[in-house]
């Protein structure tokens, strides 16, 4: 409720707006920046357009999926899109929006009635938009096809250097797509039957949201009960949710997903992700545009708004948000690395008011180290779960290898003591040799050890906190099996391969 008191005290500012110098200021967003209501609106709206305009990633006529959580920031984002699409807006936005909401109610033990209640509140809040709304229960992860985990190479559109060219090529693709519609429909129908997800699941007009089968809910609970730490549960949730949204985007033809994290939220994510070993992926996890999936690009247009600005805006202009409890909410500070990071940053921000903006600016100076990605290596160079380029192909002198050496040394003393530390890179980085456990080899149920080689550093740490990897949804297990087989094959034929770095991995 800090927002309200801020606002009340600011009402009596007694100075005029720094922009128009006329109207009385009603709020201060930063030291010295006092705005009247109307200039604050201009500032807020301009920032949104400028963010999209500067980055030029969304094309006219493109379908864009807005990820909605009920929270203030994604509510404000949807309001901005709505406003930008309205006819009287100057510099009108020209894309076709849809909304996706992932219902995670099962994870915080909500009954079906409570979940229905959340959904109807949410529908009410979004009523004004008339955008199609896709409501997906998290239980749907059990129906995902394994192809979700495969990054597709982006079309030429995304790589074209010239924006106009890119737009034209995009429009051309769309026309071609329409001509192929008939065959396309057959494909989509086939897809639907596999996935159980219906694209025209448009619930904007009050149609009912149907209860997922109870056995899926309990299977979902099994995954999360199997994760021993809240840190790992939250990481898993994040991944499963992303996969679902990606699937909705792909099946319904959305090529962009807008995600509504504010600058304050991203600063917490940055700190948490550093602590989780995701340093290599900070630019993807928190940057404006995230193209790890190839065909569907995630953009974060709210990333320059502070949580404070968003809450001011929502209060002044009647943007309703809906509080929907999730696993992230209501947990003590020291219950997970994510919560700890948030509490720490909030405390630091109180002592050093520039902390959040400094962290945010630091992240702007980071880059993703890109390897050449070809059609063949694109799948297996990527992490099975988070789909980022693997950060485990590092040299011997690294935290990654040092950790493996420690594991190795404290489990089983090497039998021939001749050269105990001459691990070749291969020996060190193939999990099979470092942490052999008898159980994982003999049984057909996938164990943690089978998964590790397919994962990035951070996802390995997460999966090590999971007791029964076999409780993962089928799409992950199947894709893991497929990739393990490819790895195995490669190991067998390795000596005959001429080009080490080339296309085969």
């Amino acid at each position: 409720m800090k927002g309200i008191t801020d606002l009340l005290s600011i009402r009596r500012l007694g100075r005029s707006c720094m922009k128009c110098k006329e109207a009385p200021a009603v709020l201060v967003i930063r030291v010295g920046d006092a705005f009247c209501k109307s200039c604050f609106k201009d500032y807020f709206v301009h920032k949104f357009r400028a963010m999209l305009g500067k980055n030029r990633v969304v094309y006219p006529g493109e379908k864009v999926l807005l990820a909605y959580s009920g929270g203030p920031s994604s509510s404000a984002m949807i309001q901005q899109v709505q406003e930008g699409l309205s006819r009287d807006a100057p510099k009108k936005l020209r894309f076709i929006p849809g909304i996706v909401f992932v219902d995670e109610g099962a994870l915080c033990g909500q009954s079906w009635e409570q979940r229905e209640q959340n959904v109807s509140e949410m529908q009410q809040a979004l009523q004004k938009t008339s955008f199609p709304i896709h409501i997906v229960p998290l239980e749907q992860v059990f129906l995902l096809p394994r192809s979700v985990l495969q990054s597709s190479l982006p079309g030429n559109a995304q790589h074209a250097e010239n924006y106009k060219q890119a737009v034209n090529s995009f429009l051309g693709q769309q026309r071609a797509h329409q001509e192929n519609e008939l065959s396309g429909i057959a494909d989509e129908l086939a897809q639907l039957r596999i996935t159980g997800y219906e694209c025209d699941n448009n619930l904007a007009n009050g149609s009912s949201y149907s209860c997922p089968p109870a056995e899926l809910t309990s299977a979902l609970m099994e995954i999360f009960n199997s994760a021993r730490t809240l840190t790992a549960k939250l990481e898993l949730l994040q991944s499963l949710r992303s996969h679902l949204i990606l699937h909705v985007a792909r099946t319904c033809g959305y090529s962009k997903v807008m995600s509504g994290e504010s600058c304050s939220r991203l600063a917490v994510r940055l700190l948490a992700n550093i602590s989780l070993g995701r340093g290599a992926f900070l630019p993807l996890d928190t940057g404006f545009s995230d193209d790890r999936y190839g065909d569907v690009v995630i953009v974060r247009p709210m990333r320059e708004y502070s949580a404070k600005e968003v809450s001011f805006y929502n209060r002044l202009f009647g943007v309703h948000s809906v509080f929907i409890p999730t696993m992230e909410t209501k947990a003590p500070d020291n219950s997970s690395i994510q919560h700890l990071s948030e509490a720490f940053l909030t405390k630091l921000q109180a002592d050093f008011p520039s902390t959040v903006s400094t962290v945010y600016r630091t992240s702007e100076k980071l880059n993703i180290s890109r390897k050449e990605i070809t059609d063949e290596n694109v799948q297996q160079e990527r992490c099975l779960i988070c789909m980022c380029n693997l950060d485990t192909r590092v040299g011997e002198a690294s935290a990654f290898c040092a950790t493996q050496v420690s594991q190795h040394l404290s489990q089983r003393r090497p039998k021939n003591n001749a050269e105990p530390t001459r691990h070749s890179e291969k020996q060190c980085c193939n999990s099979g040799q470092c942490c052999e456990s008898a159980a994982s080899c003999s049984s057909s149920v996938p164990g943690t050890q089978d998964f590790l080689p397919l994962l990035c550093y951070s996802c390995r740490v997460t999966v090590k906190d999971v007791t029964f990897v076999s409780s993962f949804p089928p799409y992950i297990l199947k894709e893991a099996e497929h990739r393990s087989r490819r790895l195995e094959m490669r190991r067998e034929i390795q000596e005959f391969l001429l080009d080490e770095g080339g296309g085969n991995m």
Binding site: L271, G277, A399, S406, T421
Partner: protein, 346 residues
Amino acid sequence: MRSARMPVKCSSCDAQRAALRRPKTGHSVCKECFFHAFEEEVHHTIVSAKLFQPGEKVGIGASGGKDSTVLAHVLKVLNERYHYGLELILISVDEGISGYRDDSLETVKRNQQQYELPLKIVSYQELYGWTMDQIVKTVGLKNNCTFCGVFRRQALDRGAMMLGVNKICTGHNADDIAETVLMNFLRGDIARLRRCTAITTGSEGAIPRCKPLKYAYEKEIVLYAYFKKLDYFSTECIYSPNAYRGHARAFLKDLEALRPSAIMDIIHSGENLSVKEDVRMPVQGTCTRCGYISSQGLCKACVLLEGLNRGLPKLGIGKHHKLHHKLLAQEPLSEAETRKLKVVDF
């Protein structure tokens, strides 16, 4: 209750009774297997990062604290076990603060006898011509921290240069590195952020420094010292308290309690950060007088010394970069400049 507890077997040799649980991996191991693992891990770090060449003279910064005591011990053991062919020498710095160093220097001297390593104590008097006590007398208590921070940072390098050492090893451990990553990230210091996970630093001008304990957990260093009965002097962190570092340290401790691998996870993050090419980095030059790394023509220590020697102690405390060329050219300062620097207003 205690009698009901089953003795746990060592997960490494499966023969001895486990004596400790490794903070780094969570495995229960016996004393011997722990020593072996700890030493082999340091060896792995040294070999994989190619820290040394045979025949090198390697200075070990010895403060008498746990990190440098364990470092000295392990380097001595590994140098013999794996025939590194290194000439090891302990280097200690005596700031010349009466009473302050006595205990830790005693510890270092005992270590020297135990490990049979040569020890060189370099004093501020030798290095700078001034003891810390004399400096305090001249500049007053309020400003002496500027001096002790700057002088301490350089003392080891200057001492090592005097001794003709090829490399300096310091006892920085994994906790220190992770903490520095967090701190530089929070402060937005992108240049330091990029450098701070490097195992070897400062190859131009100054003597290269390396951190063989980079991947060793602080808690394991204490365990190693404890079980080896190594004698160390427990000093509080001697650097002036830094608000951000204190916060980062507390945060790291909380993280470690939740997930012990967090320390290594943060180092992994730091090692894999990639900085945009168009981000400008400060140019690093060397001091024209002493050869130490410096972004200015004269390093901070040389400016401070110049001030002390000319009887202008405020030189170097504020921003007086404009005067550097005069100092370099040994030119006299104008009367106005002198007046400004002489007034010591405590």
